[in-house]
């Protein structure tokens, strides 16, 4: 439960801190942090789903939907504003999530994963085929602007995106903490433990799963927009299953108890990736695989358990909610 004892809004302070810190960071870390925050948003969605006991292997679907939606709308309407693009991405993800959620809410466990995988691969297959959208090569988009200002200086442009990413990620994190502490968030945990009992208590397990699914889709859509702006290029790889696999990877690394851990894990992954690209160009997946195995083996609750477990021991306030979070297997 991450920040159980603080008011969630206190997290605004680190967000502002990170924003100011960006002024002194070298340029390459800015874009790295932007990508890290973008991936963390999708992984946060995976965590939201996992708290209700489901693992999605197809978040790439909404990631790509957000990216392509923004790219198409921005190109045809001439929208370059970064914030507007994020909103469009979120809406694209949310709408697609709304369409799919009633269908997917009936599934759980491995079938949930398979169906999400199948849907994202259908989208991938369709994108590959659509020559109007550049087929498997994708297409490029222009630089985003912010509030009517377009940035010519590359460093300033990178910092602008970094700022947008940090603020978005901060807002998402605050929203996630509030969500996890809310009645709905606790109901999600209960669905994972025993969905039948939840139904007896008068809550529809299916609608809990569906709502979580829409939230995750919205986060992924937002992230797709952010990734599009950072790369200024989009291709069907956004929807491929290995992309979705990476989001699950970040979520597993983070564990399902701390929101902060998701961002730490995503940044760590991006750092590992960029250093490996430099020093071990052909073996970074190898390193990643071994890392993943080690985490599953030695930190089954993710890196978030490093600090949440510590705090529980200290405070010994075993409320119902934290114990439910602790006992749940890291599915």
């Amino acid at each position: 439960m991450g920040h159980g004892r603080h008011h969630p809004l206190i997290m605004i302070l680190p967000v502002i801190g990170a924003l100011l810190f960006g002024r002194v960071l070298p340029a390459w870390t800015l874009s790295l942090a932007t990508i890290g925050a973008s991936n963390a948003l999708v992984a946060l969605g995976v965590v939201v789903l996992a708290r209700a006991g489901n693992v999605s292997f197809g978040q790439g679907l909404f990631f790509a939907a957000g990216g392509y939606g923004v790219a198409l709308i921005a190109n045809s309407w001439g929208i370059t504003d970064a914030v507007l693009q994020m909103v469009i991405g979120a809406i694209c993800g949310c709408l697609l999530g709304l369409v799919i959620s009633p269908l997917i809410a009936r599934y759980s466990g491995i079938f949930f994963g398979m169906l999400t995988l199948a849907l994202s691969m259908v989208f991938y297959g369709a994108l590959i085929k659509t020559t109007v959208l550049g087929g498997s090569d994708g297409f490029n988009v222009g630089r985003p602007s912010l509030f009517g200002i377009s940035f010519v200086d590359l460093r300033e442009a990178d910092f602008m995106l970094y700022a947008v990413a940090v603020v978005t990620a901060g807002l998402a994190a605050i929203a996630a903490v509030i969500l996890f502490q809310s009645e709905f968030g606790l109901a999600s945990l209960a669905v994972r433990e025993n969905n039948l009992r939840v139904e007896y208590l008068g809550i529809s397990a299916n609608s809990v799963i569906a709502a979580n699914f829409v939230i995750a889709a919205t986060l992924a859509g937002t992230s797709g927009a952010l990734a599009l702006m950072a790369q200024r290029h989009i291709d069907p790889q956004f929807a491929y299953w290995t992309t979705s696999g990476e989001f699950v990877f970040v979520a597993v690394l983070a564990g399902y108890q701390s929101v902060l851990a998701v961002f730490v894990a995503s940044l760590a992954l991006e750092l590992v990736r960029s250093f490996s690209n430099l020093y071990l160009p052909n073996t970074w997946q190898l390193a990643l695989g071994i890392f993943l195995l080690a985490v599953i083996l030695f930190l089954p609750r993710g890196i978030g358990s490093l600090w949440t477990r510590e705090r529980h021991r200290r405070t010994e306030r075993s409320l119902a909610a934290p114990t439910a979070a602790e006992e749940g297997a890291p599915t």
Partner: protein, 298 residues
């Protein structure tokens, strides 16, 4: 009419090797309840090992037939050794954990094997076409086919029959079926379940590697091979029903035909068509076409 026949034959050729891959995957799921993402990597491993063997044999001036036999033997050996090592050395540690955790473990194995094959065989495409001419060209109802391709159909039928016979008509197979059905009960009846696990996993890897070897002369081996194959065999086992041998056969034929049809009529739509079928099957029959009655919540 000829066009139709082409599609059917191409589809069956495609289905034949896909069936062998999917058979391994579905067996592993049936016995160990692991949805093995690394299965495609074992296919790629088999293909690479086969290519190396074929090239080595050809370098010694031996005939292609010797290369063909050597490639099957080397792949069978390496496939089962890798399978046993992985099961005993790695998967064993995660038994009893959630299905999804095991899925992630195999995802890690997939990542590791992906780079390992790159390290061993490099990034450039490898060709091993010598055995491809082994069976000559065959004329079939006015169509010319490479004999090797047509040979794949009876070869996969043979493998399928052997697996079916082994499972249903031998003592060992009955034991495996018992473990698939109820592992705790089999253990209490004196079955050494962990041996069945090890054997089944090794056999699954062997089948994937064998399919890789059989297709090695037809294709170029390069990075990315495994992730393409895994999504096809995923689709097949989900369409047919996880853990069902008959399902794997029907799923493979459906996917093979869908692929061939789209290649001839609407190229590049193949993934779209296949996954559309898979999504449709999951929506209406989540347990696959060949549903085994279970009390499990889906």
């Amino acid at each position: 009419m000829n066009f139709f026949l082409t599609i059917v034959l191409d589809g069956l050729i495609e289905a034949s090797w896909l069936f062998v891959v999917a058979l391994g995957m579905t067996l592993v799921f049936g016995v160990l309840k692991i949805l093995n993402i690394a299965h495609g990597s074992f296919y790629a491993l088999g293909a690479y090992v086969a290519a190396t063997t074929v090239i080595l044999v050809a370098a010694h001036g031996l005939p292609p037939a010797a290369g063909f036999v050597a490639m099957l033997i080397s792949v069978a050996l390496i496939g089962s050794i890798v399978g046993l090592l992985l099961e005993r050395g790695l998967l064993k540690m995660f038994y009893g954990r959630d299905e999804v955790v095991l899925l992630l473990v195999t995802y890690a194995v997939f990542l590791i094997l992906e780079d390992t094959t790159k390290l061993i065989w490099g990034l450039n495409p490898i060709y091993a076409t010598q055995p491809y001419e082994l069976f000559g060209n065959v004329e079939f109802a006015g169509l010319y086919y490479v004999g090797y391709d047509l040979m794949l159909i009876p070869a996969s039928l043979l493998i399928g029959f052997a697996v079916w016979y082994g499972l249903n008509r031998t003592i060992m197979g009955k034991i495996v079926l018992a473990v698939i059905h109820n592992e705790e009960m089999s253990a209490s009846m004196g079955v050494r379940v962990h041996r069945v696990y090890a054997g089944a996993f090794a056999f699954g890897v062997l089948l994937a590697a064998l399919a890789g070897a059989l297709t090695a002369p037809k294709i170029s081996m390069q990075p990315g091979l495994s992730s393409d194959v895994i999504i096809l065999s995923f689709a097949i086992v989900v369409i047919g029903g996880l853990g069902s041998v008959e399902g794997a056969a029907v799923g493979a034929i459906l996917v093979g035909l869908a692929r061939a049809t789209s290649v001839h009529l609407m190229p590049q739509a193949e993934l779209f068509v296949i996954y559309l079928v898979m999504a449709a099957v999951l929506m209406f029959r989540p347990e696959g076409l060949f549903k085994r009655e279970t009390g499990r919540r889906i």
